[in-house]
């Protein structure tokens, strides 16, 4: 019962993240949305792993790896956002200007 609650929360977080990634123009928002997708998937995966009768350490290790890789990606993405703002004065992509 509880596991399904966590899994459905994970699924909803992925949806929320996808929406943010598509609908929000500000690039820092998109970095946050990308992190929501990642953590939602981890939660879904973690809940699925907890369904097996014994505690399975392999998904846990994979999720920890994933969290560290997500941070590396976020750091690079944030660096790119700041570089974009430095060269154009805006934290948006040209396509999203005026929109959103």
């Amino acid at each position: 019962m509880s596991l399904s609650v966590f899994a459905l929360t994970g699924a909803a977080l992925v949806g929320l993240g996808v929406y943010g990634l598509l609908a929000r123009a500000h690039m820092l928002r998109r970095v946050i949305a990308f992190n929501l997708i990642g953590s939602g998937l981890f939660l879904f995966f973690g809940a699925a792993a907890a369904r097996s009768t014994d505690v399975d350490p392999i998904p846990q290790a994979l999720i920890i790896t994933g969290i560290v890789v997500a941070l590396s990606t976020s750091a690079l993405a944030v660096g790119l956002v700041v570089a974009l703002a430095r060269s154009t004065g805006k934290a948006y992509l040209p396509d999203d200007e005026g929109g959103a």
Binding site: A11, G15, L16, L22, A25, V31, T53, P57, A91
Partner: protein, 308 residues
């Protein structure tokens, strides 16, 4: 009772996540995201994944939060912190709902997995914490590549520096008010954090903890002292910091090669040598993880100069 707790927790997580996507203002979104990470860490503890809970709290909520706050500060200096009023985007909502619905379907359609029985092989791994055994022995490839990804991301971040800022200290200069909260905490927290971080690494061999969680705590200690102005930010060219960056992956690679030459294969650890090998690799990895995370968070060298 516990189901009610879980439902409340999940409702909070979803509410805070919702606020960070749909709420007004980028700064507020960052704050909501930090809260979100902390709530998620509680969720991981509820799932019994304590190693993940520690990593989530330290890395996702803590370091990513500092990273986003620092980025917001820089964007505001560049007058790029504001965003236009946000409107509902219907096509995006349809796509997002579809993906979430697909995951919900998968949850009920997929069979329950069975965990492999590790009780026979765990004693051969050299450590008592099964998560550490997986990270540093059974699936050491993942962890080796992960430590190299950290390095690659850092090189990517450094490549974004301007040419004339290359010799400047990394990150923006911080100013802490003498006698203020940050200046005091910068002196009180580090000793406690140092002990806690080293303890997490050492304890990770047998109970909850490990190189990544401990390294993150040490990175946080380092960041606090830098922000309080006690420790000077390093420069790209300083050889000691560069050596610290490659120490972990280097020791890991060498042990992997030694395994290929003397044991059952690349990254293979003979059972009687596994414990000292894992402790050595973890110690070296912790140093590199801590330094890499600090440098990732404070960003490329920046003299705080002109807007191009």
């Amino acid at each position: 009772m516990s189901v009610a707790l879980d439902i409340t927790l999940c409702a909070l997580i979803l509410g805070v996540g919702w606020a960070s996507v749909t709420g007004q203002g980028v700064f507020r979104a960052v704050i909501f995201f930090i809260t979100y990470g902390l709530l998620l860490a509680i969720a991981w503890a509820r799932l019994g994944a304590y190693d993940v809970a520690l990593a989530e709290a330290a890395i996702s909520a803590g370091l990513t939060g500092v990273l986003l706050l620092a980025a917001y500060g820089r964007l505001r200096r560049l007058n790029a912190g504001a965003e236009p009023p946000i409107a509902v985007n219907l096509p995006a909502a349809v796509v997002a709902t579809g993906i979430a619905a697909g995951l919900v379907w998968a949850w009920f359609a997929l069979p329950a997995p069975t965990a492999p029985d590790l009780s026979e092989v765990l004693p051969q791994s050299g450590v008592g914490n099964p998560v550490t055994a997986v990270l540093l022995n059974f699936r050491a490839w993942d962890t080796l590549l992960e430590s190299i990804i950290l390095l690659a991301a850092l090189i990517g971040v450094w490549m974004l520096a301007r040419d004339d800022a290359w010799e400047a200290p990394l990150g923006l200069p911080y100013h802490a008010r003498p006698g203020g909260v940050l200046a005091s905490f910068g002196r009180v927290l580090p000793p406690i954090g140092l002990i806690f971080g080293v303890y997490l690494v050492w304890a990770g061999a047998d109970t909850t903890g490990g190189a990544f969680q401990g390294g993150t705590v040490l990175a946080a200690v380092c960041l606090v002292t830098m922000m309080a102005g006690i420790l000077r930010a390093p420069r790209v060219a300083q050889p000691a910091w560069r050596a610290a960056l490659v120490l972990g992956p280097g020791v890991f690679l060498l042990s992997g090669l030694a395994g290929a030459l003397f044991a059952q294969g690349f990254l293979g650890l003979p059972p009687d040598l596994a414990k000292p090998a894992i402790v050595t690799i973890e110690a070296a990895l912790t140093v590199s993880i801590a330094v890499t995370l600090v440098l990732l968070v404070i960003g490329p060298p920046d003299d705080g100069g002109h807007v191009a």
